[in-house]
């Protein structure tokens, strides 16, 4: 078992309902447990599944039992499947040194669709995020996933990117094994590919 970069390690996974956020946290949680760490995964869903923001938290420690919530402003990494949601959680979980890894693909809130509110321009959003974190990864995860055949794979692309940050002491093979518990064999190859594309993408960026 490799030492954690910080103990407890706290990873926030955020996005919009239906993006596969909860699954991501489960895969990560299983992989950490299999690697011998003590892990707690907190999931928020319910009404938020219906187009609202969804947030999971993965907390890891070498030993002991952690609560389901990362204390305010103490996340080590924020992984977001939607760029606006990365920004939204920063006042709650962010701090000047936090690592933010976000998909660049917007999903428009209802108020934006109806023209009552404005979605920020990508550059504006990107520079605001950069100014509020230590490291920013701004990645075309949905585009990569769509090329692989299904935009839902963006969650695995993002998980791959998280591995590239060096914050998570897990190998792609350990994630593969956790995926194997959750997916039928025919779907595994595509998930493995998405994970590796995310890893490469974040290393390039």
């Amino acid at each position: 078992m490799k030492a954690l970069t910080s103990d407890p390690l706290g990873i926030v996974i955020t996005g919009v309902g239906g993006q596969g956020n909860v699954l991501m946290s489960q895969v990560l949680g299983r992989a950490f447990l299999a690697a011998g760490y003590s892990v707690t995964v907190g999931e928020t869903y319910g009404l938020s599944q219906r187009g609202g923001a969804v947030l999971s938290q993965v907390r890891v420690t070498a030993s002991g039992v952690l609560g389901p919530l990362i204390p305010e402003n103490r996340a080590d990494a924020i992984v977001s499947l939607e760029p606006l949601e990365a920004l939204r959680v920063l006042p709650v979980y962010g701090h000047p040194g936090v690592t933010v890894i976000t998909n660049d693909r917007p999903l428009l809130p209802l108020g934006v669709l109806s023209g009552q509110e404005r979605y920020p321009a990508p550059e504006e959003l990107k520079s605001s995020l950069a100014g509020l974190c230590g490291r920013l990864y701004w990645l075309p995860a949905t585009a990569v996933a769509s090329q692989l055949g299904n935009p839902i794979l963006a969650n695995l692309v993002m998980l791959g990117a998280l591995l590239a940050t060096g914050l998570v002491p897990l190998t792609p093979e350990q994630i593969d094994a956790a995926l194997g518990d959750l997916f039928p064999a025919p779907k595994l190859a595509l998930n493995h590919a998405a994970l590796r594309q995310g890893l490469a993408l974040a290393r390039e960026g």
Binding site: V41, L47, R50, G51, L66, P68
Partner: protein, 643 residues
């Protein structure tokens, strides 16, 4: 979900709190588990249903929570173990039965799980259901971790059996949906054969005579307190003479432990972790609070323990009565919303006189200001392709054409969002399961007094069976005048697509006997029409005609939940915008499709100057092509070819 009997005893696995509760019930040898779906509790019965055939017991989705608890109590009367699980609202539905059951008592272990929902993450309220323990003198158990969920579920059955009384186990949305390592124990080799001896006076489960039985009920609670103290459910950790003791239950135990670390106060502060909270654990409280300078209570939703401890301490007098108490009552912690480690840390630091911050103030101000300026709110909404969007669109249009300011009373489910922008704010009142029909029933009596607005009640298929039926019987009997619209999407969609009486499938996915909506309504002598909400024109006409004709009528809008359809192979169309027909700002429609219809799959592309389909989001239901005044939204696919 999954069959939890397959877990290997002694090998730790990542289990959700709800799954751990289910595994605990399996290890306790439950003979019948029943529930009505309701987040955050739904996965308990789902897991049990998936395990029922391997473990050889009965698991069911019941028509409502009261029936679920009555069924569980019945098997307890017959000497075997019963479980009913529900969200906080469900406890209210059961309340009349609970209060009588507490007097009658029971035999086999009987446990009621309530999953309370601080901040109302998936609820219409944030009720604290622990009140039921005090109200009905029932033992109350509050686990803090998934591992405790398993262990304390087993204990709850033993305690119930030892005293012949219902035991309440309280979970929280956060705990129910937390995954952590849980080590399963062994499953029982067998179960006792159920038998109810009709000749045994000790097996007469009734409440009469009330007063002596009420006395027994009080004695059982006292006995429970002794047993819970012996079992060591409540633990203290910290210095012998602490400046302050945090008294915590549920997830707050973990927040409190973390808070002590965050403010670096382990040498000064003790933590009294309570897992058995009712009756109040007086012995350990007296022992641990007598040496403390102050007390901070950390518990979710109501100041239940806080209020009771303060009343108890006043009764004790002496040093206990003179303690300084902090919690929700003095504003140290917020009265509403969920607790967090940071909130508990801040309250602890304030009580110790040394303020604490989670991060430098400058960062927080900048981050908040940026979100405020840049981030539009993400309002909840119907999924792409949701039949409810189409239904509310039709209701809105039909009532607008009718022009008499129709009133719509709503109900509980995804379609509760009918009162939000996604449902065009067309729902005018929402309260609890089934209350939409009751409200309509009363409103539909006002015509003779000059109330000339049409009345419409909207209810989901599952909710109709849960609590709508008695209200409809009432309306029929008393000749109320309204249109009942049943949104039949063939699932209990909000909570995870569980089957209900109309689907005819049972919790384990076996064929049951379907109870058909049409036949139930027709049996009441009501005219029943069925329409497909995806067909906007026909649906609008059906609604308009019904409210124009008046009288009590039923319209079933039938179309499977879009998410269920997605699992069944998806919708038939590929949508696109015809650039020749969509003239953007020059059309005069003022972006009608995106501005008014508001499906997340359809947006206005500022750069192109016309509407666009978001191909990542759109599922291809084809409804939006009916709303474009220019006919610019095209549906390509087999459906169109056939048409």
């Amino acid at each position: 979900m999954s069959d939890l009997t397959r877990l290997t005893p002694g090998v730790a696995v990542l289990l959700q709190g709800n799954q751990a509760l289910a595994r605990g019930a399996l290890e306790a040898g439950v003979a019948l588990a029943a529930a009505y779906p309701g987040n955050p509790s739904s996965e308990i019965l789902e897991s049990l249903a998936d395990s029922a055939s391997s473990a050889g017991f009965h698991a069911e989705w019941s028509a409502n929570e009261k029936v679920a608890l009555e069924s569980a109590a019945a098997v307890s009367f017959a000497g075997v173990r019963g479980l009913a699980s529900m969200k906080q609202n469900g406890v209210n539905v059961c309340l009349d039965f609970i209060h009588n059951l507490a007097i009658s008592g029971c035999r086999g272990g009987l446990v009621l799980v309530t999953c309370d929902d601080p901040s109302g993450v998936s609820s219409t309220n944030e009720e604290d259901a622990r009140f039921v323990a005090r109200l009905a003198d029932l033992p109350l158990i509050e686990p803090a971790t998934p591992a405790q969920c398993l262990a304390l579920m087993k204990y709850a059955f033993e305690l119930s059996e030892a005293i012949g009384q219902l035991v309440v186990l309280r979970s929280l949305s956060r705990l129910s949906h937390t995954r952590a390592a849980v080590t399963p124990g062994a499953l029982p080799a067998g179960r006792p054969r159920p038998h109810w001896d009709p000749a045994d006076p000790a097996q007469r489960w009734a409440t009469l005579p009330v007063v002596p039985r009420h006395r027994v009920m009080k004695q059982k609670l006292q006995q429970a307190g002794q047993l819970m103290a012996q079992a060591g459910l409540n633990q203290y950790q910290g210095p012998e003479r602490p400046e302050l003791v945090i008294v915590a239950s549920g997830s707050s135990v973990l927040y409190a432990r973390e808070a002590i670390g965050l403010v670096d106060a382990a040498a000064r502060v003790g933590l009294l972790s309570l897992a058995g909270t009712w009756p109040l654990p007086a012995e350990i409280l007296a022992q641990r609070l007598a040496n403390a300078g102050a007390v901070l209570f950390a518990e979710e939703i109501d100041p239940f323990i806080e209020t009771e401890v303060k009343a108890w301490a006043a009764q004790q007098g002496g040093a206990l009565a003179g303690l300084s108490f902090h919690g929700k009552a003095d504003g140290s912690l917020p009265e509403v919303g969920e607790l967090t480690p940071g909130l508990v840390a801040a309250a602890l630091a304030d009580s110790l006189g040394s303020p604490w911050r989670s991060v430098e103030a400058g960062y927080l101000e900048r981050a908040r200001a940026t979100v405020e300026t840049l981030a539009p709110v993400r309002e909840v909404g119907f999924c792409p392709g949701c039949p409810h969007r189409a239904s509310f669109w039709a209701i809105k249009q039909a009532l607008a054409v009718d022009g008499r300011q129709g009133i719509v009373s709503g109900d509980i489910g995804c379609y509760t969002m009918g009162h939000r922008p996604t449902g065009f704010q067309r729902v005018n009142s929402v309260h609890c399961m089934g209350s939409g029909l009751g409200v309509a029933s009363g409103l539909g009596q006002l015509k003779p007094q000059g109330f000339d607005q049409p009345v419409v009640a909207v209810v989901g298929d599952s909710t109709f069976y849960h609590a709508g039926l008695p209200a409809l019987v009432n309306a029929r009997w008393n000749q109320s005048d309204y249109l009942l619209i049943i949104l039949d999407n063939s699932a209990t969609a909000m909570t995870g697509f569980q089957p209900h009486p109309g689907t005819g499938l049972t919790a384990s996915g076996q064929a049951g006997q379907a109870v058909e909506l049409e036949k139930v309504c027709q049996a009441l002598g009501l005219a029943v029409e069925v329409a497909d909400p995806y067909d906007l024109e026909a649906t609008q006409a059906a609604i308009y005609n019904a409210v124009r004709q008046g009288g009590l009528k039923v319209l079933i809008l039938r179309r499977v939940c879009a998410l269920v359809q997605g699992r069944r192979g998806g919708h038939p169309f590929k949508m696109r915008i015809d650039p020749a027909k969509c003239r953007g700002e020059s059309c005069g429609c003022n972006r009608f499709c995106s501005r008014v219809f508001r499906c997340p799959g359809l947006y206005y592309d500022e750069k192109a100057g016309r509407a666009a389909i978001d191909e990542v989001v759109c599922v291809g239901c084809g409804v939006c092509r009916q709303i474009c005044p220019a006919g610019a939204i095209l549906a390509e696919g087999e459906g169109e070819a056939a048409a």
